[in-house]
């Protein structure tokens, strides 16, 4: 099994400093919808300048380099223990190189570890085995604290919002979450919505779905229609870029479902900021490919 530490450092650098094209394209389209001279348009123009600058200089798009969330699909026979060590070593090097901010704070003792490593859970790494003839793929998402803080979980029925246990109820609570977030999650945002599960699995799923491309729709036409409707209605709220007021509050919405207990009906909303940093690396034999 080869050592991939340096390749993972490069992967972290790309994720932190180079915004994916599908996100950038949507931000460029959003500029044209805002009135010339408005604060909203100014915010989007600054955002796009920042995207170019960070790509050019290999500096972080956002100083909050977020919670590093890794999804690793490894061929049968690979050691997850060794892969974990490579990822942790790479994270420490990437932090020294200023691609990442030291972001792991011990919550009990209020101490920043200084190297982005903390316990077994920081960075977060999810492993899944695939067939031996499949390539190794690693996906990474960096999710900042501002947007993480405005995520929300609802237990339906919600009497305050008149939200029952169906897609109509889901629509209501998601719109409520966007209104409450205002600009604090660094709008325009992307919504990951998970329906069902327990509290833990529901939140995890609402993030996992954010690995998908912008515009990718749920296979079920009714759910797909709700995804588009929610993006459209969230934008009617007029919160706009940075919460300055404007046309674009949400760029895309993704919904997925899990199995739930008869007693529970959770709707979890993960809000991703415009700095939607997620990338994939694939290892095929000697070759390492970055998306």
């Amino acid at each position: 099994m080869r050592d991939l530490t340096n390749e993972i450092v490069e992967f972290i650098r790309r994720t932190s400093t180079d915004l994916p094209k599908d996100v950038e394209d949507r931000l460029r389209a959003a500029v044209e919808k805002e009135a010339p001279g408005s604060a909203a348009r100014g915010a989007l123009e600054t955002i796009l300048k920042n995207v170019e600058l960070s790509r050019q200089n290999a500096t972080p798009i956002c100083q909050d380099t977020g919670t590093p969330i890794f999804y690793v699909r490894y061929p049968e026979g690979w050691s997850t223990r060794k892969l974990r060590q490579m990822i942790r070593d790479a994270m420490e090097i990437a932090t020294k190189k200023s691609y990442m901010r030291p972001n792991a704070v011990d919550a009990l003792y209020d101490k920043n570890t200084g190297n982005n490593l903390g316990g077994d859970d920081f960075p977060y790494i999810h492993f899944e085995e695939v067939d031996a003839d499949q390539p190794l793929t690693i996906e990474l998402m960096l999710k900042g604290g501002g947007c993480e803080n405005v995520g929300a979980q609802y237990s339906l029925p919600d009497n305050r919002l008149g939200a029952g246990r169906d897609l109509a109820g889901v629509r209501k609570v998601v719109l409520d979450a966007v209104q409450k977030a205002q600009g604090q999650g660094c709008a325009p945002g992307i919504l990951g919505v998970a329906i069902g599960g327990d509290r833990g699995s529901s939140y995890i799923k609402s993030k996992e779905i954010l690995f998908g491309k912008i515009g990718e729709r749920n296979a079920d036409p009714e759910v797909a229609a709700l995804e588009e409707r929610l993006t459209n209605e969230a934008n009617q709220l007029g919160i706009g870029p940075m919460g300055f007021g404007g046309q674009t509050t949400v760029i895309d919405t993704k919904i997925t479902g899990l199995h739930r207990l008869p007693a529970s009906y959770f709707v979890s909303v993960s809000y991703m900021c415009w700095a939607y940093r997620r990338r994939k690396m694939v290892v095929k034999g000697e070759e390492v490919l970055y998306d």
Partner: protein, 208 residues
Amino acid sequence: MRVVNLPAKDDVIRELRVGEPVLLNGVMVTGRDAAHKWMVETFIKKTRAPKDEDLYVYENLKKLLNGGVIYHCGPVVRKDEQGQYTFVAAGPTTSIREEPYQADVMKHFNIKGVIGKGGMGAKTLQGCQETPGVYLHAIGGAASYIAQRVNKVLDVFKLEFGVPEAMWVIEVKDFPVVVTMDSHGGSQHALVDDASKKVLEDLLAQPY
């Protein structure tokens, strides 16, 4: 575009109104969650005794913040071989977490400007009227862009809070912000919140 030099006088601050873009020049200090809690507990409410170099830091902060600006920011910082720091990425963090502390800190140190993102609440708005001061919104996530407007890192205090939470003294040139809360009670955040609440009510009343 209006340029404000730091430290700023009250009459300059009173001229600023919600919606106006401003460029800042001069020295400012970063401070976020740990710093605000520490300032309030140690020097304002005095619920904990100063320790180590706290009083030395306090004397420096009194000078730096008088007529000055505090920036809610947890930067990515590079240290070169000579020990000199530079800001690599330095956008704003969400300000509302400092809502319990901000007005008291503004009044105590005579702070004229609070820079952050997402806006703040009624207590800080009141603080802006009394001090007088303004809330200045920087563009969240535009960290590489903003770091280029930081010419120099002059000093750092409370590094034991960790790099993101330390209080960095920086010299900025043409630092871009928008006034979103002014010293006359105006708040863009309150306006957008109210308007979006009304739209939400209408949307919730619509059939599925």
